[in-house]
Amino acid sequence: MASLEEHLRRLYLRVPEEKRPPLKRAYHGTRLRAESLLRQRSLVASERITFLDFEIAFLEPFEFLGPAPGQVLVDNLLTVVSPGTERNVLIGLPGTRRRFPSQPGYSGVGVVRALGAGVTAFRVGERVAGGLPHMAAVNMQADMLTSVPAAVSDEDAAFIGMVLIAQLGIRKAAILPGERVAVVGQGLLGQLSNRLARLLSPAEIIAVGAGRSRQSHALAAGGADRYVALSDGAQALADIGADVVIEIAGTADSMTTALRCAAPGGRVIVVGSTRSLDHAWLELARRQRVTIVGAHVSLLPFDDGTPRRWTLAQEYGLMMQLMARERLKVADLITARWEPADCNTFYDELVHGKGKPVGIVFDWRHRSRPAPPVVPATPIIEVSNMEPLKIAIVGAGAIGSHNARSAARMSEARIVGVFDANPRVAQEVASGVSAQAYASYEQALADPSVEAVLLSVPHHLHRDMTLAAAAAGKHVMLEKPFANTMEEADAIVSACREHGVALTVNFSFRYLPRIRAARELVAQGALGDITGIELSTHSYREFGYWYGARSNSPDDWRTSREKAGAGFLFMNLCHVIDYVYFITGLKAARTYAEYATLGSPTEVEDSVSISCRMDNGAIGTICGTTIRRGGNVAEDRIWGTHGSLRLDGDDLHVYSSRVIDGRKPGRWHRLTKFPTVNWTGEWVRGFAQAVRAGAPPPITPQDGWDNLAFITTVLRAMDEQRALPVPRYPHD
């Protein structure tokens, strides 16, 4: 008969994957509580820094049982980062564990909270130090800890685990007074080795580092006597002639460096966890008659009766004695102090080599809750008691009538009239928004009550109608695309500037909540630096669409290259391009494309595939068609150095290695249930407020111009069969 666990497991596997995490947590929580009752051990709530995946660290809550026999429950005060080891684990270097999740850290100081049965070496409230991991509270075996004398500060004691590693190397080196000692590697362990070597009165300690960023720490009181950088050259290394070389850099070529520093007959002590092969070392070692000694900390015995084999406890005790007598000082090596809640940011900087910290501590003493995420507000132009902008709707077809209805719902706008070449359609739409119908465009422009025109007309009419509106002193709201050609676009921009009227283009998808949410995520750094874009939008447009069957005013202008300018690119893809520009803040710099008309009764394209290079170097791929049967596909993917996002359907999915809005990094999060928004109305509102405030509109002429520039370059690139640069906006 299957056990309860097996039953539970089978049930669990039937649950959809995205619903499993809370079930798993509930199971483990219940089980832990049951164990707590059975074993009569308390339940301890704590937090721990966990490596969730490559390059991803997170502070997560966790629970565990109080101390078992022989254990001590410790509340950590400070834990010290082992920069080399922890970075190597995070980036998955050869020789590291490469399995996640894992909990880092092995050096710290804390206070005893509780004792397991049989522990007599410590008392509650006493400070202890040892191989403490990066956790707020943790059970430790008593023999892995040592008492901290009152004369030793938290900062000094916290380094115990790191000092142990260096100390073992120094002990194996058996430095004699008067010997010359070189320490290769000036990270934290190298700095500690300098100071420990000093205790043995060598004639000289030479610190050898890759660069000079740590020279001042190396030469501080109690440290090395002089500093040699690798950039000083091979002869400078050979001139060192050290009797003892402590190799503690752990880089690919550090053994060779160490051997070069050694005098003939010298000793090289391997402390760095060098995980790479270096084939040149043997010849060097043989020539120099060097003895090489390993000094890994795992060689330390816990309990050993062999003469002069120091146990862990004895080494710890010696360290505390040296610190208490101030013969060993290390607290000044702390160059960075981090709150555990910021570990995600810290490890991101460590992985990417930002800064050159030496000693880094997590301070568990004053943990604050992370501040609530600050979501940058969408800029709103505040206009009090605003007079609605009076707008004439020009073009009342399918899109124009939608625009009219959307605008009419906004208090910032009032539709004062409607014009369409089809008088019946104009009258219908005008009635629907309680406005008059104009007999001609000129009549609309002549109406003094009209402040702005909203042009939803065939693309080839954009320029002339905009110029006329601008000359009449009317602000212009243009449906996309801006125009059919760049010359037309330049004329539009110039005319509006000349006549001092505002100009905008309808890229109102920017007002969709999920688009704005995506932009906020990028702005918060969820993706890091953008490195790739992949846009895919496919649908099926029946023949009738091209003849205006979906419109209240059927017309075949969309099939005409002269009138429409382009097909799929202008009709649909321009929106996607615009909101990707909006989300990322990037623009295309170079492009090549293939396009064709493969299934539509048009002169314009119905299929396109575009490659582009963005202005930050990211690479983009855009693929779309209006002749794909089997269901619509609309999926936009954007990714960067730290994460990815995906827009599909009505949802937004985000994956980040960073903690964004408190979300656990290293997993996909689905953002859904966005509010319904009148996005066209928001576009109108934004424009109206800008006009009243005398400010640039949220969607500027440059946005329209740049969008058109990209699309026309795409078309030209195909026609000329070569990649082309995308022109830059010239109207600054």
């Binding site: 002990r171 008067g178 043995l200 009165s201 004695q321």
Partner: protein, 263 residues
């Protein structure tokens, strides 16, 4: 290679502050001199400085005496006369701790109340010993360690044991030659302890070899720690001479050595 018994004619150098190292009582006399005539020995040349034993140690400053080549040790040229004269006791001290393989963190005990004992304590500190214990009737010349008086042997033994705590290593050097002190040290020796009886014995010493050496796995050295023992060691171990010279080059260390020797 010169026959080590071949004589060299040396003129003893007058050194105002050191004389003939009279302060290192018990260590043995030696002097700083310059070679006058090497009698054809190629590795010696007239004018070369030497630290010399034998008749040179008893001669007056400026006097020319004949000394066996084996009793001559050339100090490094770059050391001044004061530093050079400090070399022999320093070599003896460093060599003794090296024989005992004193290492970082171990307990080091020095018994004797001569300046040479103070130098032994200082060099134990240089080896990283913690603590350095001086077992002597008078306050030690080395102030950086612990002082135990042998006046009450039982109390002294108990105190030394408490200073050992649970250290895995114990090394001691006696230059007092006192049987009472040696007895304290033998009893205080822990398992695998190391002891060097380096002083000239002033009285007969009775040792329970079974209890204090055999069962404990102790290691006992008996080479006299005096001037005469240094010369062959320095010749046989050029590394030791090189290290000592490097140490004495440092002004602070040289001052510490001279202070210990009370020069």
């Amino acid at each position: 290679m010169t026959d080590s018994r071949a004589p060299l004619a040396v003129r003893v150098t007058p050194v105002e502050t050191m004389g003939r190292c009279r302060a290192t009582s018990g260590f043995g006399d030696y002097a700083l001199a310059r070679v006058v005539d090497a009698h054809g020995a190629s590795e010696w040349r007239p004018g070369m400085r030497v630290l010399a034993l034998g008749d040179a140690a008893q001669a007056a400053p400026g006097q020319v005496v004949s000394v066996a080549a084996a009793d001559c040790l050339p100090p490094p040229e770059h050391l001044d006369d004061g530093a050079a004269l400090a070399l022999p006791p320093l070599l003896a001290a460093l060599g003794a701790w090296q024989d005992l393989q004193l290492e970082l963190g171990e307990v080091a005990v020095v018994s004797g109340d001569t300046p040479f004992a103070a130098l032994l304590a200082l060099t134990a500190h240089w080896h990283g010993a913690l603590p350095v214990v001086t077992l002597a009737a008078a306050a030690p010349g080395f102030a950086g360690g612990e002082w135990v008086s042998p006046h009450d042997p039982r109390e002294a033994h108990s105190r030394i044991q408490s200073l050992q705590q649970d250290k895995p290593g114990f090394a001691a050097i006696d230059v007092s030659g006192s049987a009472l002190v040696a007895d304290i040290l033998f009893q205080a020796l822990p398992r695998w302890g190391r002891l060097h009886l380096g002083g000239a014995p002033s009285e007969a010493l009775t040792v329970d070899f079974y209890r204090d050496v055999h069962v404990k796995g102790a290691r006992v050295f008996t080479r006299a720690l005096d001037a005469r023992s240094v010369w062959p060691t320095a010749v046989a171990a050029p590394d030791l001479l090189r290290r000592a010279a490097r140490l004495i080059e440092s002004t602070s260390r040289q001052n510490a050595v001279l202070e210990a020797l009370a020069w």
